[in-house]
Structures are given as structure tokens and as C-alpha cells.
């Protein structure tokens, strides 16, 4: 026997039989505190029953090649079995945890060498020795984690008895170090993935809750006005900056579509402030330009003035029995809503005015218009326009083409068509680049 490890162990324990007895008594220490902690460490690596991995297969292949043996295994010793993380030259995924080979290797910190397993009392009853595949030579080193637990082995085996040099054992130790490094790397990566998915879930939950609080629930009943609003968030982890609202206000219906510059919780705070300020302003006798003017004053005086601003399209709509819907529209830095006329022509509605919450001296304007029964008006954010038109486009030709044949359709059908267009665009880009909100108003016949 040439391994100094084994010689030293023999010297310490006196006889092979003595070593065997010691191994036997410590082999299945279920309930033993150390074994419980060792098993906790094993489970932490999440390697048991994992599919084969290239990095480990390379190590066993390299081990067999370097040490000129037909079999090399990287194993994890589970409570009742030995799981082969990677096996070279052996056809099995696992074997029962029987004493003598790997199970004994992890019971101590040295190399465990059996030169002739069939003749050695420690191993001759082991099923891998007594039965198939009839191993005769075994040398293994424990895979020792940084916190000091032997979770498994890197070992070599042969079908014939043989000896092993000190140098070969040294090589096996180095390869075991490599295997452990790979396990650690893999664990770090797993932990990173777990953490990332947990963070993502948290972020999504917060965003969804916040988003819900920023959007109206069911829209109020609006006789004579057929209204559908839709909202799509580009990134489910972040609260979007787009918002819409439909409010029953002072004998008319207020339609709001807006976009707060920026994303995340600060933008959400501004969205909330904007939406609720508008709701309050709309309780009084109001005109859209008057409401935007007061909103602008509120926002330019707020603590984060100059940091954030928003764009809003605000319309006051009222049913004109028999003749459609009357509208007063005011814009603050917002894309012009589109009006689809009965003949299929499409018009821009509203007069351009500055963004809201930045310029104290901004002026906003009212535009009056009427929708005949069946005619449509679509209020939307720039994210919607960009999604339909394509990134970087300054036109609205596609949106117009999409809307022209929609005359006569109810608001829900128009909204479904727009959603289809958004979905197609999102498929092209992988996801929406920006949030998209829109509101479809149809004058009921």
C-alpha cells in the first residue's frame, strides 16, 4: 500500500479491522447532529437528482484520463444513497449508501484507498464489489465544503486490483478541489437566480398594487356615450407613468388620458397627485382648459416641481339626445386625439399647449367639437402612438389606417383592434417599449 494517507490512518487506528468497526458505528448516524448539519449542507447545493452538467462530466472524464482508470465518479452522499453527480465508465445514477467505498470516504478527511476490494474486509460485502460491476480497486477523496462538511467524493475505480501513487492521490485531490469550485460556482449562480426572481416578484407585486390604485375601477355609466379604456404596462416590474380616468362630473363626463414623465414610484406619486387633483378640480363647475390651468398651478408649486411634469388630454363630454355627443377638449403637451368621422375621414382634435407642471405661465385652450351618432374619438398616450407606428416615427398614418374602417363599430371592438395592433408591435420588439394607454369614445346612436 503506497498511500501515506492510508498508512497514517492505519498507524493511528492500529488495524484495518479497527478502522472498519469505527466506520461501521459512524456510518449511519441518522439523528446525529453532525450528519443532520451535513445533510443540510448537501441540500443547500441543490445538486441531488439534478440533470447531468457539462462542467462535472468534464472533471470525471479528465480524472479518468489523467489517472488511467476506467471509472471516475463525482458523488454526493445522501442520507440513504450515493448520488452520482457525474459518472465516467459506470452505468448507474445512484447506489445505496453501503459502507466501504464512498460512504466511508466521507467519514474521514483523508484519501480512502482500497487496493483489492474483494480481499479487504472493509469492502468485500459492498454490493458494488460482491455483485455487479465487481469493483476491485477504489480510491476516493472527500468533497469538503468551505464550512467543513464532506458532502460527497471524487473517486476512481477499476475492475482489477491495483495500487495508487502519492502523486495520483495528489492529482485526485486537486481535481476534487476543481469539482468543489464548480459546485460553489453553481450554488452562487442558483442563489443569484433565486434572489433575482424573488426581487422580480416583489417588484411586480408592488407595481401591480400601485398601478391598481392609479387607475379607475369600473367606469361609471355614461348614457349616450360608449366608452372603453385600456392600459398596457411595458415593464411589469415598474409602475408605469400613463394613466386614464373617466369621471362623472357636474352633469357631464370627464375623460382623462395622461402621461407622467419618468417611471417608478416617484412617477407613480406624481400620477396619483395629478389624477386626484383633477378629480377634485372636476367637482366644481369646470372647463377643461380651466382645470388644466389649475392643475398646472398645483403642480408647479409642488415640492418636486421642475423634476417632473406630465401631459394630459382632458375632455368634457355630454350626450346631445338624438344628435350625438358634445365635447370640449383641452390639451397640455399631449398628442392630439383623433376623431373618426362618419365618412371615414380622420381629424386631429384640440389645440397644442405646453406640458403641465413645468411652466408657471403656460396657457391652455378649449376646443369645441361634436360627434354625430356612431362617430369616434380616441385619446391616447405617446406610448400607444409609438407602439402602433413603430419606434421613432413622428407620424400617425398607421393609426389612421387602422381607425378609418372602424366607424360604426362599438368602442369595445375598436379597443380590441387597437390591442391587436399593440400585441403585434410588442411581438416585433419583444415587449412594449413604453406604457400605452388609450380611451375610445363613441357617440351612441
Amino acid at each position: 500500500m503506497s498511500s501515506p494517507d492510508v498508512v497514517a490512518r492505519r498507524g493511528r487506528n492500529g488495524t484495518l479491522a479497527g478502522a472498519h468497526c469505527m466506520t461501521q458505528t459512524r456510518l449511519r448516524p441518522h439523528g446525529d447532529q453532525t450528519e443532520m448539519r451535513r445533510m443540510a449542507t448537501v441540500r443547500r447545493y441543490e445538486i441531488l437528482d439534478a440533470p447531468p452538467e457539462g462542467a462535472f462530466d468534464e472533471i470525471t472524464q479528465l480524472t479518468a484520463g489523467l489517472l488511467h482508470v476506467p471509472i471516475a465518479l463525482m458523488t454526493i452522499v445522501d442520507s440513504d444513497r450515493i448520488w452520482f453527480v457525474s459518472r465516467y465508465g459506470l452505468e448507474a445514477d445512484q447506489v445505496p449508501r453501503e459502507s466501504g467505498l464512498c460512504a466511508s470516504t466521507i467519514e474521514q478527511d483523508r484519501a480512502w484507498v482500497i487496493n483489492d476490494a474483494a480481499a479487504d474486509p472493509r469492502t468485500r460485502d459492498n454490493p458494488l464489489v460482491a455483485g455487479e460491476p465487481g469493483l476491485r480497486f477504489y480510491a476516493g477523496v472527500p468533497l469538503r465544503t468551505r464550512d467543513g462538511y464532506n458532502i460527497g467524493t471524487l473517486c476512481i475505480a477499476d475492475f482489477a486490483p491495483r495500487s495508487v501513487s502519492d502523486q495520483a492521490i495528489q492529482t485526485l485531490r486537486q481535481l476534487a478541489g476543481m469539482a468543489l469550485n464548480e459546485l460553489e460556482l453553481r450554488l452562487t449562480e442558483l442563489e443569484r437566480l433565486h434572489l433575482a426572481s424573488e426581487r422580480r416578484r416583489d417588484a411586480e407585486r408592488v407595481a401591480a398594487t400601485l398601478q391598481e390604485s392609479l387607475l379607475p375601477g369600473a367606469l361609471p355609466p355614461t348614457p349616450g356615450l360608449d366608452i372603453v379604456a385600456r392600459y398596457h404596462v411595458a415593464n411589469s416590474e415598474q409602475v408605469g407613468g400613463d394613466f386614464y380616468d373617466v369621471v362623472d362630473a357636474d352633469g357631464a363626463v370627464a375623460l382623462v388620458v395622461g402621461d407622467v414623465c419618468g417611471k417608478g414610484t416617484q412617477a407613480a406619486a406624481m400620477t396619483g397627485k395629478t389624477r386626484w387633483s383633477l378629480r377634485t378640480l372636476l367637482l366644481d363647475a369646470w372647463t377643461p382648459s380651466g382645470a388644466l390651468n389649475r392643475l398646472n398651478q398645483v403642480l408647479v408649486r409642488s415640492a418636486d416641481a421642475g423634476e417632473r411634469y406630465c401631459t394630459v388630454a382632458l375632455a368634457r363630454a355630454y350626450a346631445l339626445p338624438g344628435t350625438g355627443v358634445g365635447l370640449t377638449l383641452s390639451l397640455g403637451g399631449h398628442p392630439h386625439p383623433l376623431v373618426v368621422r362618419a365618412g371615414g375621414s380622420i381629424e386631429h382634435a384640440g389645440r397644442t399647449a405646453p406640458i403641465i407642471g413645468y411652466f408657471p405661465d403656460a396657457t391652455f385652450y378649449d376646443t369645441e367639437l361634436t360627434l354625430a351618432p356612431g362617430e369616434l374619438m380616441i385619446l391616447f398616450t405617446d406610448g400607444m402612438l409609438e407602439a402602433v407606428q413603430g419606434h421613432g416615427s413622428s407620424e400617425d398614418s398607421r393609426l389612421r389606417t387602422l381607425l378609418a374602417p372602424m366607424i360604426g363599430s362599438c368602442a369595445r371592438v375598436v379597443a380590441d383592434r387597437l390591442d391587436d395592433a399593440l400585441r403585434t408591435s410588442a411581438l416585433c420588439d419583444g415587449s412594449l417599449r413604453d406604457d400605452a394607454a388609450y380611451l375610445v369614445l363613441r357617440a351612441s346612436a
Binding site: 403637451g333 397644442t352 405646453p354
Partner: protein, 116 residues
């Protein structure tokens, strides 16, 4: 690989040139939520220790500006105002000028022609 390069959009960068009392920041790529702050810090960096009479943001070569990019233009305006410098934009017809128009900002900026 940079996905923006894959899509054929030039990588965002700002080139700041100061001469004859004028600081000009030439913006390449897309000015948006991510790149807006880079323009602001590039300009404030270029203005440090300088006292130009005018600041020009040259958007002639800018592929795209979104509503968050506007914020950067407004922040740059404040940086120029703080130093008593005139603030001007150089804008080509297209998406950027259209965005300024929709945002109702056309009248809030002064404009210069691009440097030939």
C-alpha cells in the same frame, strides 16, 4: 452585443465643444429615460469653469427623443439659465421637432441653424 447597434441605432453619446463664447452639445443616438441624465451631466461637466454666452443643444443628429428626453432638454435649459447663458436648440424637421410641437414647447425654446 449591444442591442441598439443590432437595431442599427447609433450608440448614444454627447460631444461637447466650447469656442467663441458658445458651448455646443451634439447629441447622437436616442435621448430617453436612460440617456437623458447622461446629456445633462455631459453638459454640466462641459460648463464647469466656463462662462459661455450661449449653450446650444444640437439635436440635428439625434435619432429619437421621448418625453423623458424632453426633461433632459429642460434640465439643460436650467443649467444654461443658472449661468446666464442663452439657450438654443438645433433641430432638424422630423420626430424631434414634432415632439416639441406636440408637447407645446416649440415657443419655449430658441433655435439656431446647424453648423455647416
Amino acid at each position: 452585443m449591444n442591442p441598439e447597434v443590432d437595431r442599427g441605432i447609433p450608440i448614444f453619446h454627447v460631444q461637447c465643444v466650447t469656442d467663441n463664447d458658445a458651448t455646443r452639445a451634439i447629441v447622437h443616438g436616442e435621448l430617453d429615460l436612460d440617456t437623458g441624465p447622461q446629456l445633462v451631466s455631459a453638459l454640466t461637466g462641459a460648463l464647469a469653469g466656463q462662462a459661455p454666452k450661449s449653450v446650444v443643444i444640437d439635436l440635428h443628429a439625434t435619432a429619437f427623443v421621448d418625453s423623458s428626453g424632453l426633461r433632459a432638454l429642460l434640465d439643460c435649459r436650467r443649467a444654461a439659465d443658472d449661468r446666464g447663458a442663452a439657450y438654443q436648440l438645433c433641430v432638424a424637421p422630423g420626430q424631434v421637432s414634432r415632439l416639441l410641437q406636440v408637447a407645446g414647447l416649440t415657443d419655449y425654446f430658441d433655435y439656431v441653424a446647424p453648423v455647416p
